[in-house]
Each structure stands twice: as structure tokens, then as C-alpha cells.
């Protein structure tokens, strides 16, 4: 593997409204240092993709943003969301996760009906109004481009859906909570091309009203759907810029090599 100088970084400033930002975030798994000084600003209502080789820390970093690393790793530094450091001990993590939703690599619907998959967390968060629940069910499934396919089978088990449908159900389940920010960790990597392009379309639609941060291994996907891209390498953020700049005129050699497939 080629070695690159981690001090060579190019982190572009964002002149848009910021939805969430990290300030010098460090992550340790026991003694091993997985993320170094990660400072990024994520623009509101835009799609930002996180790219980088396997093991470069993309998932680790993403999971910090809604405190999913709490029991797994030691996360230091500040994560600013609505002028609050949500990485602080005093923060109500459940509340954080209601504002910042997450979709995982492998679809993980509950072993419940399609309807209950969406409504379960809502009910547990104290939403009991029938009309409100019905409205959220319908709009979230519509927003996730799944409504037409399942509207007659809402009582069927979610496990009977195809992988792509399950993943869109998981997206719907997340957005039914009306989060601000949606984190996705390789949401399409286990899916066929058709399901993948459906998910991409869904995300582009959602980016009108959600801030989306997505980890992907698929360069085309990153360049197709995202507005901003961050390149990770061995726990360091090497380059962060508008996607078109990253893919056409990267500032750092490591980024260029990675994008052109000439990496290590």
C-alpha cells in the first residue's frame, strides 16, 4: 500500500447553513485509534457522501453522529447540532437519535407487519393519535417510494418483502420519526442495480427536506447523488469538498489515486 501524508488535507469551508458538524472528533476502540481529529461541517438539505477504503473509519465516524458508538467505542471531541454538543454526557441520547435517524447496510426490519414496522417506534414515543399515525404511515411510505408496492399489504409481515423493499421500509421507518438528519451506511450495497437506483431516487427526493449523510463504496453513486464528498483514509479525513470538485479536480494526491482506482 502506498503511504500518504495525513497532514496533507483539504477541508473546504461550507458557506451554506450547517445541519451538524464535528469538531476534533477522536474515536478509540480500546487502545486502537480509529478516527483522528475529524472536523467537518455538513450542509443542510444536501447529500454528503463519505468514501474511502474498507477499514478507513467511515462507519465509525457516521455512527458517532447519532451516538450509536456509545457502548462500543470511546468518542471524544464535539459534535454540534443546533448549537448543542450532542457528544456530551448530559445529552439525552434517545432524543438525539429521534432527530438523527440511521439506516444500516443490511435491511433490518422488525419481525412485525409492514404497518407496525413504521408505527412501533412512533407509538413508543408517545404518538397515539390515530389520524396522525395513519398520516405518518402513508407519507413515510410514499416518501420512501414504497407506498404503491405495499399499500394493499400493510398487515403482511415485513420479512416477506424483497431486500430492496425491506431497505426502503427501513428508510420509511426512519423518516416516519420526522428526523432532521438521515445517516445511511452503505444502504444499497446488498441490493441489485434496480433496487439501488430506486433507493438513489428516494434519497434525492428526500434531500429536499432532510440532511443526508451516506457512506458508500460506489464511486458512481457518490458522484451521482451527493452534493458534497468526504474522503477517509486510515481514520483521517483527507479531503472534503463539493462532489464535483472531488471527482474532477481533487486537491490531494491520495484522493486522486483512490478515485482513479490507483490506490495501494
Amino acid at each position: 500500500m502506498k503511504t500518504y501524508d495525513f497532514n496533507q488535507q483539504y477541508i473546504s469551508k461550507i458557506d451554506k447553513e450547517i445541519a451538524i458538524s464535528t469538531d476534533n472528533v477522536q474515536v478509540h476502540y480500546g487502545k486502537s485509534h480509529a478516527i483522528f481529529d475529524a472536523s467537518l461541517d455538513f450542509p443542510r438539505f444536501q447529500i454528503t457522501s463519505l468514501i474511502g477504503a474498507s477499514g478507513s473509519g467511515k462507519s465509525t465516524y457516521l455512527r458517532c453522529l447519532n451516538r450509536m458508538n456509545d457502548k462500543i467505542a470511546q468518542v471524544d471531541g464535539k459534535i454540534l447540532y443546533r448549537n448543542t454538543d450532542i457528544n456530551s454526557k448530559k445529552i439525552n441520547v434517545y432524543e438525539v437519535r429521534r432527530h438523527i435517524g440511521m439506516v444500516f447496510q443490511r435491511p433490518n426490519p422488525f419481525a412485525k407487519s409492514i404497518k407496525d414496522n413504521i408505527l412501533f417506534a412512533l407509538r413508543n414515543n408517545g404518538i397515539n393519535d390515530k389520524n396522525e399515525l395513519q398520516k405518518r404511515l402513508e407519507t413515510s411510505l410514499k416518501d420512501a417510494a414504497l407506498w404503491d408496492e405495499v399499500k394493499d399489504d400493510l398487515d403482511k409481515s415485513a420479512l416477506a418483502l424483497s431486500g430492496g423493499q425491506q431497505q426502503r421500509l427501513c428508510i420509511a421507518r426512519s423518516i416516519a420519526m420526522h428526523p432532521d438528519i438521515l445517516l445511511l451506511d452503505e444502504p444499497a450495497s446488498a441490493l441489485d442495480p434496480i433496487s439501488t437506483s430506486k433507493i438513489e431516487e428516494t434519497l434525492e427526493l428526500l434531500s429536499k427536506s432532510y440532511t443526508i449523510i451516506i457512506v458508500t463504496h460506489n464511486m458512481q453513486q457518490a458522484s451521482r447523488i451527493s452534493d458534497y464528498t468526504a474522503f477517509f483514509h486510515m481514520g483521517h479525513i483527507i479531503e472534503y469538498n463539493e462532489t464535483k470538485n472531488i471527482f474532477t479536480a481533487p486537491e490531494i494526491k491520495a484522493t486522486e489515486d483512490y478515485i482513479s482506482g490507483d490506490f495501494g
Binding site: N66, M68, Y94, E95, V96, R97, R98, G101, M102, F104, R106, N108, P109, F110, A111, K112, S113, F120, A121, N124, N125, D153, D155, K156, S157, L159, A160, C170, R173, S174, M177
Partner: protein
């Protein structure tokens, strides 16, 4: 030897071994049922055991077995559930957990005679419970807890972590995630284990001989007040179970039809356990289907 031949040979050997196991099981079951079933009749199931004359039944023993089973489960299930949840969801990988796991393993391989004698010393003598259903049920709890805990822990751990992450990422607390998402998914496995444990409890004799005792005083099945002496629900009375009855009839009975009673009782015992096992499979499958397949 080429690959095809050795494959055939290996397959043949495996089939042969399976055949031996199945033959042993079937002949054992067949023998017990063949000898016992002809003597099972309504009278046998509904009348009292006789000490000296022929024609006794197993009504009280059958009831005692079921009653003890239910009490033992009522005591052991909540404890096992708590312990199972702790081990699967909360326990950290450290030496304390290792000690707990090892103790459970040791406990589960403890011979039931030892459990019985321990129960006798602790419950019957020290705690002054006497030979009683309560002492028996607690002894059965000692006997049952390790396996049931393990079963519950395994059923819970077999639920993919992705489900826990799904719950957490939706802002649910750990406890809600466990009780509302993980536990329902583990339910078919837990239920199957519970019923299989019931079969084990139902057939257990050694742990009960010195705890629940070897006598079945006549009780009044119309008296529903468990705090009265004669009530069939009275947990402080001694209670010989079916399995203990079989042991006793075979070792010290003087009734002329001891052979018949022993084989018929054995058949009843086997049939009940078979029903438990088949029921466990059926219920487990059905629950799982209900949760996973289309409604």
C-alpha cells in the same frame, strides 16, 4: 479411493449410525408403549393408587406431576428469564460473567440425585418444609434453572444484533428494545425450550424422592383453598409424582399387579412427554411462521 467412492462410503456410514440411534429409540419407545398402553384405561387414570390390593390407578400421581411442574415453572421461569436477559444483553465479557457461565454449566451437569439430597437437607430439614410439593418445586427449580437460563440466553443471542441497532437508532431505550423487539423474536425458541424442560421435569424422579416425598395422601379435588390441609392445591402436603411412583412400584410395591401398574404408568409418562415435545415443535413452528410469514 476416488472422491465419489469415499463420499458414498461416508454417507453410508452416517446413515448406518443414524439408523442405529433411531432403532434404539424406536424399540425403547415401542417396548414401553406396547407393554403399557393396553393397560391404560379411564379407571386407571381416575382412581387412587392401592398399597396392597390390585386395581389401583395413578390419578393423584398424575395430578401431582402436573401441579409440581406448573409450580416449578412458575418459580423458575421468571428467574431464568431475568438471568437469560442479563447474560445475553447486559453481561460484559469479563471474569464475573465467566464465573456465572461456569457455575451454570456445573449446575446443569449436577446429577439430579445430588439436587434431591441437597433439597432434602436444605428445604426439608433446615427450612423445615417437610416432604412437600413446595420443597419438590424448589428442588425442581434448582434442577431446571441452568438449562432454562441457557436456553433463554441462547434464544435471545440468536436474534441478530441488527435488530438491536434498529431499535436503538429509532430512539428506543435498551429495555424497550429488549422487551418489545428482541424478546418477541426469541419467543419461539424460548417456548420450545420451556416445553422441552417441562418434559424433563415431568419425568424427573431422583430430585423428588426426598423432597416432594413418596406418599400421595388422599386429597379433596373439590377443595380449592390451598391453605387447607386436604385441598389438592395445598403446597405443603407430600406428593408422589408419576415418575416417583414408577420407581416405587418397581422397588417396594406389594400389590399383586405391580408389573401392570408400572408399565402402564411408564406409558402414561412417555405419552405425556411425547405430547410436550410434539407440542413444543408445533407451537414453535407456528409462532415463528406467524411472525415471519405473511398473515
Amino acid at each position: 479411493m476416488n472422491a465419489k467412492k469415499s463420499d458414498k462410503l461416508a454417507t453410508g456410514i452416517i446413515y448406518g449410525l443414524v439408523g442405529i440411534v433411531v432403532t434404539i429409540l424406536i424399540s425403547l419407545l415401542g417396548y414401553i408403549l406396547y407393554n403399557g398402553v393396553p393397560d391404560i384405561n379411564w379407571h386407571f387414570l381416575t382412581s387412587e393408587a392401592q398399597s396392597f390390593s390390585a386395581g389401583g390407578g395413578v390419578r393423584d400421581q398424575l395430578f401431582n406431576s402436573l401441579y409440581l411442574l406448573i409450580l416449578a415453572l412458575i418459580i423458575s421461569f421468571p428467574i431464568a428469564l431475568g438471568a437469560g436477559i442479563y447474560l445475553s444483553e447486559y453481561a460484559k465479557d469479563n471474569w464475573i460473567t465467566d464465573i456465572i457461565r461456569t457455575s451454570i454449566e456445573v449446575l446443569s451437569s449436577l446429577p439430579s440425585v445430588v439436587v434431591g439430597l441437597f433439597g432434602y437437607l436444605l428445604l426439608v430439614i433446615q427450612l423445615n418444609l417437610g416432604f412437600s410439593i413446595l420443597a419438590g418445586a424448589i428442588a425442581l427449580t434448582f434442577f431446571n434453572l441452568p438449562l432454562l437460563t441457557r436456553n433463554i440466553e441462547e434464544s435471545l443471542s440468536s436474534v441478530p444484533d441488527l435488530q438491536r441497532e434498529a431499535g436503538t437508532s429509532l430512539g428506543l431505550s435498551g429495555w424497550k428494545t429488549i422487551t418489545k423487539i428482541i424478546l418477541p423474536m426469541a419467543l419461539p425458541g424460548i417456548l420450545t425450550g420451556l416445553i422441552l424442560c417441562s418434559g424433563r421435569i415431568f419425568g424427573e424422579a431422583a430430585a423428588l424422592i426426598y423432597t416432594a416425598g413418596q406418599s400421595a395422601p388422599s386429597v379433596d379435588y373439590g377443595n380449592w383453598n390451598p391453605f387447607t390441609e386436604t385441598s389438592f392445591l395445598n403446597p405443603m402436603r407430600p406428593a408422589e409424582t408419576l415418575a416417583v411412583h414408577i420407581w416405587k412400584v418397581n422397588t417396594e410395591s406389594v400389590t399383586p399387579d405391580a408389573g401392570v401398574i408400572s408399565s402402564a404408568s411408564s406409558a402414561v409418562l412417555i405419552i405425556v412427554i411425547l405430547i410436550f415435545n410434539l407440542g413444543a415443535r408445533y407451537l414453535g413452528n407456528k409462532l415463528f411462521k406467524k411472525m415471519t410469514a405473511a398473515k
